[in-house]
Amino acid sequence: MSTMVEITLDGESARVPEGSTILDACRRKGIDTPTLCWAENLTPVNVCRVCVVEVEGSRVLVPSCSRNVEEGMVVATDTERVRTSRRMVYELLASSVEMDRATPEVLAWMDHYGARPDRMGDRSEIVTQAQPVKVQDDLYVRDYERCILCYKCVEACGDDAQHTYAIATAGRGFDAHISTEHDVSLPDSACVYCGNCIGVCPTGALMFKTEHDMRDAGTWDESKQSVTTTVCSFCGVGCNLELHVQDERIVKVTSPADHSVTNGHLCIKGRFGWQHAHA
C-alpha cells in the first residue's frame, strides 16, 4: 500500500498516492487535461507544454505530466494564465504545421481554448519545414510538415517500447527534424515496421498508408467506422487488436494502450498482417 499525499486541486482537497504526477491526480479527480507529447505508454519528455498547470509558489507554470505531487501542493488547472498558455501553445504549433489530420482529441482541445493559429500570420509563409510527403514503401507515410517534434515516435521506437532506434532527432533550431540514420530511406534504415511510431503520433504526421490513401481519395470516414477488439493470430502472446472497420473492410489496426499484454504496441504482423482477411 503506497503512502498517500494530500494536495489541493482546483480548490478541493485530494489524496493521491505518493509518486503520482499532477496529471495522474487530475485524472483521478476527473479533471480533463490536454496532452500532446505525453502518452500513458511512454515516458514523459516534457516538450509540448500543453498540459501546464499553476502550482502555488512556483514562478512558472509546471508540466503536469511529469511533475510529481508533493504534500500540501496547491494546484490550479483552469486559471486564466493556464488557459492563455495552453491556447498559445496550440496556436504556435498549429501556425507552423498543418493540424487538420491531428487526433480528434487535439482538435477538440484547440476548439475548447479558442485557438486561432491564423493570428500568428499566414501559415504558408511561416511554415518552417515545407517538404514533400515521404512515401517509401507500402505501409508507412511520413508527412513531416505535420510534425510538431513531440518525440513520441522516437520514444516508441527506442527505450519505451520497440528498442529498434531507427529514428532520432537530427539538426538544430529550425532544422531540427525526425530522421533515420543519415536520412536513409525507411526501408534501408533499421526500421522493422512495427507501426508503434504511427500508433503514438498525435498530428497525423505519421500515418498508415491505407489511411493516408483513403484520406487523399476522400473516402476516409470515421463516422462510418466501427472498432472491434479481438486477439492477433500470429503468435501465442495474445496481443489485443482494435480492428477499425469501414464498409466491412479493415482499414486500420491499433492496440489498446491500457492492456497488460501489449501496452498499446504491436509488431509488423499484428499491425499489417490483416490483409489476408480481404485477400
Binding site: L139, L186, C191, V231, C235, E248, V261, C267, K269, A279
Partner: protein
C-alpha cells in the same frame, strides 16, 4: 532465452523482457545462432545444434558441485534427486564444453548466476521442442528449475512461448489424442463418464493418434478418412514429399480452411471457413494461459461460413440433429460445466476483465498468474515434482562427409509459418528465402553471396540462393520456410520425430551444398 528468437517470433513478449533488462535483469541467450534476440542479451552461448540436454546436464552438475542447490525445496517438493545427481555427474564443465562447443567458463557463469538469482525464468520455443528429443529437452530444463527452486513462485518459472494465438487453448479444449477438455484423461473412466453425461453420447475409451501416428496409420491403410481443420500439412510437414503421398492415399480428405491451401487442393471436399480472429466470435488462450475474447469485426467473404455452423451442419447431415444452433457463449457455458479450471470464467467476466488466466475454479477467483505454487506448501501439495534422467542424444540426421552441414529452420519477423496469411501484405523488410552459410563454409565451397546452389539432404534436393552470414558458426546453415511455393524447404528437412510428442526434428537436418553447373546468380530472389 533458450532456443527462442523471441525478438522476431514473439516481439511484444520481448518488449516485456527488455523492460526487465532495463530494470536490471540479466539475459542469457542460448542458441546456435547469434539471433536478433541474442544481440540484446548480456551473454550469448552458441551451442551445437541438438546439444541442449548436454548443456542442461552440465549446468545441473555445476550447480550441484558448487553447492548452489535449493536443498529445502529439493527435500520437500521433488523426487529422484540422488539418482539425478549421480546421473549428471559425468557432465563436468570440460566434458559439457566438448559436446556443446561452449567454453567452460561461460557454462560456469550461467550456472552460478541462475542458481543464485533471487528470481529466474527459462523461456524456450521450438529450438527446444523441434528435435527428436523434444520432450527430453524440456524435461532437462525442468530439472534446472527443480534444483534451484525457480518454479512455482512469482517471477520465477518455466516459460514455453506458444507459437499460435490458440495453441494453448486448443490443448486446453482437449484437441489432443489423450485428453478431454481441461486436461482430463480420455482413459480415465470417471472423467469420461462426467463428459458423457453432459454431452449425451459415449466417448471412445482409448487414446487417439497424434499427427505423426496418423501419418503412420495412413501408411498402414488403417486411417483412410481425414477431416483437416485449419492445418496445411502438405506444406508444413517435415519430409513433405512423404506427407503428400500419404494424404493422396486417403479414401477421403475433407479440408476446412480460410484459404485454398495446397492441402485443400488435394481434398475431396473443401469447407470454406470464416477467419478466426477477424470474422468469428469465441475465445483464445495465450502463452500465459490467459483466456481472452475473440470477436468478429467483418463478415466472412463469399461462401465462407462460421466453423461452428459447419460442424453442426455436418453433425446433422450425419444424422444427429440434436446439436441445435449453439452460440459461442452457449458452448463456453457448457465447457465451464466439464472443465474445473475454467469453472469461474463466466462470459461476462471475460468481457469485463479483458482476460483471465486459468486455473480459475470459481467466480470469486481472480485467476492464476503462475502455476505449481503447491510445491511451496509444506508439506508440498499433490505429487512431488520428479527429476528426469534423460540422455543427451544428438540429432538423428547424422553429419557425414556426404552431408557435412547442419541445416536448421528459423523464422523471420514479418512472416508466419508457411506464409498462407502473411504473403498478402507488402512487407518492406521481406527478403525472401535464402540459405545462410558461414563465411568459412562459403569460401570452402567457392560460393558467393547471391549465388544459386543445390542443397541436398537424404530426402531430396532443392535449389536455393546463398546468403553469406558474418558470425554464423562454421558448419551451420539456416533458412526460413515461409515461401514453400518457391522454395520447398520441407523437401529436405529431417523426417525424424520425437516418439513422445510426435514433433518433427525441423531444427536439425544434415545437408550438402553444391555449386550449380552454370554457377548462376539469383536475379530476383524467391
Amino acid at each position: 532465452m533458450w532456443g527462442s528468437n523471441a525478438r522476431n517470433a514473439h516481439p511484444i513478449f520481448f518488449h516485456h523482457a527488455l523492460r526487465g533488462v532495463a530494470n536490471g535483469a540479466l539475459m542469457w541467450t542460448i542458441d546456435p545462432r547469434r539471433t536478433d534476440t541474442a544481440k540484446f542479451a548480456d551473454h550469448w552461448l552458441g551451442l551445437n545444434v541438438g546439444s541442449d540436454i548436454a548443456l542442461a546436464h552440465g549446468i545441473a552438475r555445476e550447480i550441484i558441485a558448487a553447492g548452489l542447490t535449493d536443498e529445502e525445496f529439493i527435500e520437500n517438493a521433488t523426487s529422484g534427486f540422488d539418482e539425478f545427481a549421480a546421473f549428471v555427474e559425468p557432465w563436468t564443465l570440460k566434458h559439457t564444453s566438448e559436446v556443446t562447443g561452449i567454453p567452460s567458463g561461460a557454462i560456469r557463469d550461467l550456472s552460478h548466476a541462475y542458481a543464485t538469482a533471487d528470481k529466474a525464468q527459462i523461456c524456450w520455443t521450438l529450438g527446444i521442442t523441434e528435435h527428436h528429443t523434444g520432450v527430453d529437452n524440456v524435461q532437462s530444463l525442468c530439472n534446472l528449475a527443480l534444483l534451484t527452486g525457480h518454479v512455482g513462485r512469482w517471477g520465477s518459472g518455466l516459460v514455453p512461448l506458444r507459437g499460435q494465438n490458440n495453441v494453448q487453448g486448443g490443448g486446453d479444449m482437449g484437441a489432443l489424442p489423450n485428453k478431454l477438455t481441461g486436461f482430463q484423461d480420455v482413459e480415465d473412466d470417471e472423467a469420461r463418464a462426467k463428459f458423457e453425461a453432459v454431452w449425451g453420447c459415449p466417448i471412445p475409451p482409448t487414446n487417439g493418434w497424434n499427427l505423426t501416428e496418423m501419418f503412420e496409420a495412413m501408411e498402414r491403410d488403417e486411417l483412410k478418412a481425414v477431416y483437416c481443420i485449419g492445418e496445411n500439412p502438405v506444406d508444413s510437414e517435415a519430409d513433405a514429399k512423404h506427407a503428400r503421398a500419404m494424404i493422396e492415399r486417403l479414401d477421403i480428405l475433407v479440408v476446412q480452411d480460410v484459404f485454398m491451401t495446397r492441402t485443400a487442393e488435394v481434398a475431396d471436399v473443401v469447407f470454406p471457413a470464416a477467419l478466426g480472429w477477424a470474422e468469428s466470435d469465441g475465445t483464445v488462450t495465450n502463452s500465459e494461459r490467459r483466456v481472452q475474447r475473440m470477436r468478429a469485426a467483418v463478415p466472412p467473404p463469399g461462401q465462407a461460413r462460421q466453423e461452428l455452423e459447419i460442424i453442426n451442419d455436418l453433425a446433422a447431415a450425419m444424422g444427429d440433429e440434436g446439436w441445435g444452433a449453439p452460440t459461442p457463449e452457449d458452448l463456453w457455458e457448457e465447457l465451464r460445466k466439464v472443465s474445473p479450471m475454467h469453472g469461474g470464467m463466466s462470459w461476462e467476466r471475460l468481457e469485463a476483465e479483458g482476460g483471465i488466466q486459468w486455473p480459475c475454479p470459481s467466480e470469486d477467483h481472480p485467476g492464476s498468474p503462475f502455476l505449481h505454487g503447491r510445491l511451496w506448501e509444506r508439506p508440498a501439495g499433490g505429487r512431488r515434482a520428479p527429476f528426469s534422467c534423460v540422455e543427451n542424444r544428438p540429432p538423428l540426421d547424422e553429419l557425414t562427409d556426404e552431408f557435412p552441414l547442419r541445416l536448421t529452420t528459423v523464422r523471420a519477423l514479418d512472416s508466419y509459418n508457411t506464409g498462407v496469411q502473411t504473403e498478402h501484405f507488402a512487407s518492406p523488410i521481406r527478403t525472401g528465402e535464402a540459405l545462410s552459410i558461414s563465411v568459412a563454409d562459403a569460401e570452402a565451397l567457392g560460393v558467393v553471396d547471391g549465388e544459386r546452389v543445390a542443397v541436398s539432404s537424404r530426402r531430396g534436393t532443392i535449389e536455393m540462393t546463398v546468403e553469406v552470414e558474418e558470425y554464423l558458426a562454421v558448419g551451420l546453415c539456416h533458412t526460413t520456410f515461409h515461401f514453400p511455393e518457391t522454395t520447398d524447404i520441407n523437401q529436405i528437412t529431417s523426417d525424424a520425430v520425437d516418439p513422445k510428442a510426435g514433433t518433427a526434428e525441423f531444427k536439425a537436418a544434415a545437408v550438402r551444398v553444391e555449386r550449380l553447373a552454370d554457377g548462376k546468380l539469383a536475379g530476383d530472389r524467391a
